[in-house]
């Protein structure tokens, strides 16, 4: 097929054969082993659970609008905030970027046809849904009001958490299998020439996340198992009445859950590295620094979990050691932020929607990271632990970090996944609303927390009433913004216009295949010969086909190079 040069303004010819219409019918989707389709199915389920979790969050904030009862009583409120926590953590944010964007892009970005174990990939999708359904049953049947942490004496003596612990146990397996799949794929299936230093930084993020998933998730598996044993056969290692120790449960729980927060943020950092490079059209500043800091975070994150338990009755010796190492894990994050800002230096910054989300990420994640440094100090944490300061901190890092990066990545790779471009102004309005709503909601909570407002409180002292009101108004704006973003994507599916292979001028491998990509990603296994963000070399690619024989070239927007 010869290649025609497309002048700007001319409509792009639609691609006839691609992974979406390779096979037809629901059955072909449900039994597919194509990593791209599994990625799309994960995307839909992840957005679904995000909607459920988000709705619960709106109810939580509505209840806290005024002191005393606003719309529900204490027991219901406790169940709603627990469900919000569990759905958001286990069913949305852990699988969000690695399972949807990661699944779709990992094989294409390393020039492979599929992940190492495609059937295992489909199996982990169904295990994820088994966990999801068990979770919903758990929420509806049992009165799980222990929060997403299921702390020991309360969760094993008073309420029925067996369904929910089973759901977390099962969902954990899906996370393990995805991690395992990704580690083997990155190790064994890279295209010829794709050395470790030519791996895009998004894949370094996914690789570090996969390692944490494989190493940490089994421990939440055994923790949930022991919790069920505690409840069903009264094993007694967590229940103080039988001689057990609730602090031991917290050790078990946080050994997984702190690395889990790095499972949530590392893929987001990977997405941001990609966005910064493409939209500043500048080589990433300090590629090795970012790649190494991802690995450093992955390893050191296993040594710091004790900072969740400074006031939980832990010994001072352990508290001091945990606090010291917690500060060490803050340093690589600082390097990443500095490198991203360095990438923008002397770049050519185009403020399209993905780049706006990247800027929002930098703004919000910096606040999240710095308040993490605050919480790491021992004596300040005694005052701030389990208050709204902690709530604000982890929302700034998880929502301000991972969700914003997820939206940015989604806008960035949407043309590649669907072949259609989203409406630019609609996306910008959504980003603006989200940014303002987010800050009004959660920065207020920093002040609430440092003033002493405890976490998970259904009713509060009247002094905090006006701050809570601000926070609730903010949550409405934030909810509206997310709704507009959702509409923007649906609108683009219906009316978005066709795009070429590389609408953004990206230089990583996925921009060299068609969009939407072919069922087998590449016709010929690509030969990688340069760094992922080498824009000078990339220009020649856009004209040549990189195989050195110029046989078939990608239809490109002719860079109107006069």
């Amino acid at each position: 097929m010869s290649v025609t040069m497309i002048e700007p303004g001319q409509t792009m010819p639609a691609i006839e054969h691609h992974y979406l219409n390779a096979e037809k019918g629901i059955k072909s989707w449900l039994t597919t082993v194509d990593h791209k389709r599994i990625g799309i199915m994960y995307l839909i389920s992840v957005v679904l659970f995000f909607a459920v979790g988000g709705l619960l969050a709106v109810f939580v904030r509505l209840e806290l609008l005024t002191p005393g009862r606003t719309i529900m009583d204490a027991a219901m409120y406790n169940r709603v905030f627990s469900a919000h926590g569990i759905v958001m953590v286990f069913l949305f944010i852990i699988p969000s970027i690695p399972a949807s964007l990661g699944n779709f892009l990992l094989p294409i970005m390393i020039g492979a046809k599929d992940v190492a174990f495609p059937r295992l990939n489909l199996a982990s999708f169904y295990i994820y849904w088994a966990g999801g359904i068990l979770g919903i049953i758990g929420m509806l049947s049992g009165a799980v009001d222990t929060g997403w942490t299921f702390y020991a004496p309360y969760s094993t003596t008073t309420t029925t958490v067996v369904w929910m612990t089973l759901a977390v146990f099962v969902a954990g397996f899906s996370s393990i299998l995805t991690g395992l799949n990704f580690v083997v794929t990155i190790h064994k299936m890279r295209a010829p020439g794709m050395t470790w230093t030519r791996l895009p930084l998004f894949l370094w993020g996914i690789y570090a996340t996969a390692i944490i998933q494989v190493l940490a998730t089994p421990v939440i598996g055994i923790t949930m198992l022991l919790l069920m044993m505690e409840k069903l056969i009264g094993i007694g290692i967590f229940d103080p009445k039988l001689g057990g120790d609730p602090v031991l449960y917290q050790h078990f729980f946080w050994f997984y859950s702190h690395p889990a927060v790095y499972i949530m943020i590392l893929p987001a950092m990977g997405v941001i590295s990609e966005l910064m490079a493409t939209f500043s059209r500048q080589k990433i500043f300090g590629y090795k620094a970012i790649a190494l800091s991802s690995m450093a975070i992955a390893l050191v994150s296993f040594l710091v979990w004790g900072h969740h338990m400074f006031v939980a009755g832990q010994s001072e010796v352990a508290a001091i050691i945990f606090s010291a190492i917690t500060y060490l894990v803050g340093v690589p994050t600082g390097i990443k932020v500095i490198s991203w800002v360095g990438t923008m230096y002397k770049g050519s910054i185009s403020l399209r929607a993905p780049m706006i989300y990247a800027q929002m990420f930098l703004f919000l994640f910096t606040i999240g990271g710095l308040t993490g440094i605050m919480l790491g100090s021992l004596n300040v944490d005694v005052h701030l632990h389990d208050t709204y300061y902690v709530v604000a901190h982890f929302h700034y890092v998880m929502m301000g970090g991972t969700v914003i990066a997820f939206l940015g990545g989604l806008h960035y790779w949407w043309p590649k996944m669907t072949g259609k471009m989203y409406n630019e102004s609609l996306a910008k309005w959504a980003a603006g609303l989200i940014f303002i709503g987010f800050n009004v909601t959660f920065f207020t909570q920093f002040i609430l927390g440092s003033q002493g407002m405890p976490r998970r409180y259904y009713d509060y002292v009247p002094e905090y009433a006006s701050l809570h009101a601000f926070s609730t108004y903010g949550s409405w704006i934030l909810g509206l913004g997310l709704l507009v973003a959702f509409i923007c994507f649906i609108h683009s599916l219906i009316k978005g216009e066709q795009v070429g292979a590389d609408p953004w001028g990206g230089t990583t491998l996925e921009w060299l295949t068609t969009s939407p990509p072919d069922a087998h990603n590449f016709k010929r296994v690509p030969l990688v010969t340069r760094n992922p963000y080498d824009y000078d070399a990339a220009y020649d690619d856009l004209l040549g086909d990189g195989m050195g024989d110029g046989a078939s070239r990608t239809p490109v927007v002719s860079p109107s190079r006069s």
Binding site: A152, Y154, F285, L328, Q359, G376, T444, R456, E463
Partner: protein, 358 residues
């Protein structure tokens, strides 16, 4: 092709949104909110608070510096390096190892300094000074009982002024946490184990209400010092807010005496009801977690095990000291047993009070 989006207008919009957010943050930080909340930390009312606030502000100022630095750099780069046309070619920026090393060494040193400051002050908090005044606190599902050395028990915490006080805490059922924001102290309370926290509150609270006064619905709390429970412990976890008063010595002495006197009249019973029983039982017939007391005295109670039992003197006494023995049908066996938390005089007072509730 994609409509030509106006890079310039978007850039202005982005900078405006950033500045707007910062303005809101400054407003929330400084504007007084409801009553007297202003700035970051509540008013320092214990000797520990000053150390915590110092480290808090130290880290906060560094946070402001880094945050403004990052945001200013971003804003400037967006403005200066705008993309003119799609075919811009940027010049190569060399990775400077020195810059990277700086951003490894300098933050590491800075955070180590912050760590040492925090750890030193923390150790000061953990090691208890000499001649300390010990109060035993027992947390139970949705309330506190403070036992003073002279045996008196109170529902809200009263501490002598300018005297180091050590709370000796344990819990009756699940995890709770003893947290007084104004004193900057917090410590989880674990069942079947003692945990300790000490503080010294120099300044007496201005208005004292009557001893054992715990007519406290949360909204009526007078802003003295508030005690929260910060470890989730069940349905009315937020109902465990209590009043903390600091009394100068003479008043504290009189208060202690009055504490041990138990008036066994119906009036005394009403006070005991409000301090200990109100969170689950009601006196006017409205359904609660536990059975209502209206018309309880002398009626026939259907309980399991044991079928029908007259609600007489020893039924009430047994249901207080060992609620699990006879559980009223239709109600959960969730009542904590009050042995050691309630004095005999108070049980008599409760029974008198029940008699008045027809």
């Amino acid at each position: 092709m994609t409509p030509k989006h106006n890079n310039n207008r978007t850039m202005i919009g982005v900078l405006a949104a950033g500045i707007l957010a910062i303005i809101y943050m400054i407003y929330v930080m400084v504007a007084p909110q409801g009553g007297h909340i202003q700035g970051w930390t509540p008013r320092a009312s214990s000797t520990l608070a000053e150390g915590t606030d110092w480290v808090f502000n130290f880290i906060n100022y560094w946070n402001y510096l880094f945050f403004i630095g990052v945001v200013a750099a971003m804003g400037y780069f967006i403005y200066k390096y705008q993309r003119k046309s799609d075919s811009d070619r940027t010049e190569k920026v060399k990775d400077s190892i020195a810059f990277e090393m700086f951003w490894v060494i300098f933050p590491t040193l800075l955070v180590m300094v912050v760590f040492v400051l925090g750890a030193r002050d923390y150790m000061g908090q953990r090691v208890t000074p000499k001649n300390v005044y010990e109060i035993q606190a027992t947390a139970f599902q949705w309330g506190w009982t403070f036992t003073y050395p002279n045996g008196g028990t109170s529902d809200s915490l009263v501490v002598p002024a300018n005297q180091p006080v050590r709370m000796v805490m344990t819990s009756n059922d699940v995890l709770h946490s003893f947290y007084i924001p104004d004193f900057r102290v917090k410590q989880d309370v674990i069942p079947n184990r003692f945990t300790y926290v000490w503080f010294n509150a120099p300044k007496p609270t201005l208005k004292y209400n009557r001893p054992n006064d715990s007519t406290l619905t949360v909204s009526s709390l007078d802003r003295k010092h508030i005690l929260h429970c910060t470890e989730y412990c069940g349905t009315s976890h937020s109902g465990m807010d209590r009043n903390v008063q600091v009394m100068a010595y003479n008043d504290f002495e009189t208060w202690l005496e009055e504490l041990t006197k138990v008036d066994e009249s119906a009036e005394g019973g009403k006070k005991v009801f409000e301090s200990k029983c109100q969170s689950c039982h009601s006196a006017d017939g409205t359904p609660g977690i536990g059975p209502t007391w209206k018309g309880l005295w002398g009626s026939n109670r259907s309980v399991s095990p044991g079928g029908a039992v007259p609600a007489d003197e020893n039924y009430i006494r047994e249901s207080i000291l060992n609620p699990g023995a006879k559980v009223a049908n239709g109600f959960p066996n969730a009542m904590t047993n009050f042995t050691g938390l309630i004095k005999d005089g108070e049980i008599k007072a409760i029974i008198e009070y029940m008699k008045t509730l027809k």
